[in-house]
């Protein structure tokens, strides 16, 4: 399977007459873009903003981020979600690099939503502050969940996916500036004398009700048993981020499209290791389902003759049991493992870092502490609704606290846990953070 990404390096974005791209300048026809957003009747209000690295702008509640792309063969960018069911990860996809579509609720936030600060002290907490962002701020008629802690954010998130494809269409017929190529020959032909590696991705799937979990070709990952998937499929829109789990632990759709851990393994393939592929697993809550998933992962790894595996977890708390159990079970099967996750050590740093720990999980890369306390000054411009952080149960925020006061102060400054930083722990591989003893 050969997958080519034709990259266009965006350095500037403006609104203008035609949605187009020329030498680093991306121009967006705002009314056309908004028309794509409003194709869904559930969208009641929508506007677009352009924000840039260093801008004194705070975005919240952020629902998802998506890289603008277009597939040259006319296939939908997210098969099974935005269009028909076709194979991802083959052929050519064009991508606008250095930018993303960020979806922000105009009114309502929820447990799973996050904050992005484009400038100042807060910028270092998210990956997305270094991108030029096309910010969709919109509201919907999904009244049933306006006061719910857990929100599907269906209309907003799907609008973001459509918008990313619409903007991507600007470069459909153009010559890319930089090519990336990912080729996976059939497993049976990958006979190089190097250790065989699998990447196990435990994607978020804790919600029993439909509409919240990570999707694979539109399929709710709660309802699958682990499966072998070509990494190219993940890089090419097979996965759409869910709407559950405190934001810093989440993997956005943009994260799936750019998955640094996958790209890193491709880079290493043939040099120090033999990258066999990805085992896509999940993080369900019932014991049987956890054990079944672990069993499938281990059997698949054994069947593929895997020597060593990386297990990455999208979440913390309850899913730590799946994470540690999977590492232990792989070790027990003679497969050497490294874990990739974040920790929850509490505001005081003193809690047990993972809900379940085991001495066989002896090699873990830690990407951050979800409960680290963060205090940030007011931002000049807020896109979305600042009060969502305090009012709507966003996981890192609170309405009031005896010691710390409210998360959102009258002057617009905020105090929150890292939990609410949009995809802040970058467990997909970008994180330059770690956790240390003090």
């Amino acid at each position: 399977m050969k997958f080519t990404i034709g990259n266009f390096l965006v350095q500037e974005i403006r609104f203008g007459a035609n949605t187009s791209y020329k030498k680093g300048l991306l121009t967006i026809n705002k009314s056309e873009a908004l028309a794509v957003v409003c194709e869904d009747d559930h969208i009641t209000e929508a506007d677009l903003y352009l924000v840039h690295p260093g801008d004194d702008v705070r975005l919240l509640p952020v629902k998802d981020a998506v890289e603008p792309r277009i597939k040259l063969d006319g296939a939908p960018l997210f098969p099974g979600v935005t269009g028909q069911m076709v194979q991802c990860g083959e052929g050519i996809t064009h991508a606008l690099k250095g930018c993303s579509v960020v979806v922000v609720g105009q009114q309502w936030g929820g447990y799973q939503d996050g904050v992005i600060d484009m400038g100042g002290e807060g910028a270092k907490y998210t990956y997305f502050s270094q991108l030029h962002n096309i910010v969709l701020v919109a509201d919907t008629d999904e009244a049933f969940e306006q006061k719910e802690l857990q929100k599907k954010n269906s209309a907003l998130r799907r609008a973001g996916l459509r918008l990313a494809e619409y903007i991507g269409s600007a470069v459909k017929t153009m010559e890319p500036e930089k090519m990336e190529q990912y080729e996976m020959v059939p497993v049976a032909d990958r006979v190089i004398p190097l250790p065989k590696i699998a990447l196990v991705l435990q994607v978020q799937s804790q919600m029993e009700k439909p509409g919240y979990n990570t999707l694979c070709y539109g399929w709710d990952c709660n309802h699958m048993v682990p499966t072998f998937i070509n990494p190219n499929e993940i890089l090419d829109g097979a996965m759409v981020s869910g709407s559950f789990m405190p934001s810093s632990s989440k993997w956005s759709t943009y994260d799936f499209q750019n998955f640094p851990m996958i790209k890193r393994l491709y880079q290493e393939h043939g040099k120090t290791l033999n990258f066999i592929g990805v085992i896509l697993s999940n993080l369900n809550v019932e014991s049987d389902q956890k054990e079944r998933s672990t069993l499938f992962v281990v059997n698949m790894a054994k069947t593929l003759g895997i020597d060593a595996a990386i297990v990455a977890e999208e979440g913390y708390g309850n899913p730590d049991t799946d994470f540690t159990s999977c590492l232990v079970a792989l070790e027990d099967a003679g497969i050497k493992t490294v874990g990739l996750t974040n920790e929850c050590t509490g505001k005081d740093g003193r809690s047990q870092p993972l809900v379940y720990m085991h001495e066989k999980a002896d090699a873990i890369v830690s990407c951050g502490n979800v409960s680290e306390l963060i205090e940030l000054p007011p931002a000049k411009i807020v896109l979305g609704n600042l009060q969502a952080l305090a009012r709507d149960g966003m996981s890192g925020g609170w309405a009031d606290d005896e010691l710390l006061g409210p998360s959102v102060r009258p002057d617009g400054s905020i105090i929150m846990e890292n939990n609410a930083m949009f995809c802040g722990d970058q467990v997909v591989g970008w994180s330059t953070k770690t956790v240390k003893e003090f």
Binding site: R264, T272, D307, A361, V365, E372, S431, T432, V435, K436
Partner: protein, 348 residues
């Protein structure tokens, strides 16, 4: 110039050796012994006073000794309190921990000390206190004092503080996120760790998991009817006057009490000193925790061979793993010496 006060035991405080270990707390102006050297090394503080106390006096009368020390300090102005270094000296380490903890609580000043990793004071106090990783003996004095002085200067001048590893103190289960100076991303770190693990090279997990000691389950007795059985408890049941002064929490000692000729434990003779549960029921009937009554009945029935004439007791709550393991080893040695075949360990 900021002010520092130092705590030393009778030996380093130049009172004398073991024969003076009962010395009561005293405060002297200026730095004595190691405190004098510390004074030289500190750039931003002066050691104004040295508190000296005998190790035995502290260990045997901790509550009173700490109270006396707090009184001695009550009219002094100081910005930091430094104890030790205590090296591997167990009683001295426990004293440094107890004093630092009390001084921090009473005066809200930063407190630091230094001990070798095997000093029992480390396990008992590292969660609450910053305890620098010290040498085994006085040979390491200069090096240990230097770490204390460097860190004290940093605190006193509000300089950024490094991680436990960077500064050199014992990790205390206080984990916070940082950005790595080298900016190496997680994906690179994973590949590096994985390759090292594959090739059996040493690697360091970023989230170390403490090793668990799993004790294998003992094989069954061949014949219960002839076996000599002992009873052990961590429920804190002791003679009412607590003759071994076992602590109600974080105990470091165990006791061994005769039940010779007793058909049951009587309430006016035994009670519990355990601080971690409501004692009402056990004080009314200690057999609820240490079931001598039932075991005597078994003995009479011939169900068990013989009930050993002493029971063993300590308090389980808050005990460090290393103290618990040590007490276990000591008790086992005692039991083996008198040919006990099996023991019943009763928790609460």
């Amino acid at each position: 110039m900021k002010k520092a006060i130092v705590y030393l035991n009778q030996f380093f405080g130049q009172i004398g050796g073991e024969s003076t270990a009962g010395h009561q707390p005293a405060i002297k102006e200026g730095g004595i012994g190691p405190a004098q050297e510390l004074n030289r090394q500190l750039q931003h503080a002066e050691v104004t006073h040295t508190v000296v106390c005998g190790d035995n006096y502290m260990v045997e009368n901790e509550e009173e000794a700490v109270k006396q020390i707090l009184e001695l300090l009550s009219d002094k102005e100081f910005d930091i309190f430094i104890s030790g270094p205590a090296f591997k000296a167990g009683r001295y380490g426990l004293a440094c921990g107890a004093v630092n903890k009390a001084v921090h609580e009473a005066f809200s000043v930063p407190v630091i000390t230094s001990m070798h990793t095997e000093n029992p004071g480390v396990d008992l106090y590292k969660k609450e206190l910053i305890i620098f990783s010290g040498g085994e003996s006085v040979i390491a004095m200069d090096e240990d004092l230097k770490k204390l002085a460097v860190y004290a200067d940093k605190i006193l001048t509000n300089q950024p503080l490094g991680t436990a590893e960077e500064e050199g103190y014992h990790a205390r289960g206080n984990r916070h996120q940082i950005w790595r100076d080298d900016q190496v991303c997680a994906a690179d770190r994973v590949v590096d760790m994985l390759l090292k693990k594959i090739h059996d090279q040493p690697f360091e997990s970023e989230l170390p998991v403490p090793k668990r000691d799993n004790v294998p389950i003992a094989p069954p007795l061949s014949d219960l009817a002839t076996a000599r059985i002992a009873v052990l408890t961590s429920g804190g049941v002791v003679p009412v006057n607590n003759p071994d002064h076992i602590r109600s929490a974080s105990a470091t000692r165990w006791g061994k009490y005769s039940i010779e000729g007793m058909e049951r434990l009587e309430a006016d003779i035994f009670k519990t000193i355990h601080g971690g549960y409501d004692p009402t029921a056990i004080d009314a009937d200690p057999n609820i925790c240490v079931p001598i009554d039932v075991l005597r009945a078994y003995e009479a029935e011939g169900k068990i061979g013989h009930l050993y004439e002493f029971f063993y007791s300590t308090v389980g709550t808050g005990v460090t793993q290393s103290d618990a393991a040590r007490m276990g080893r000591e008790i086992v040695e005692d039991l083996l010496a008198v040919d006990v075949d099996a023991a019943i360990m009763i928790s609460t």
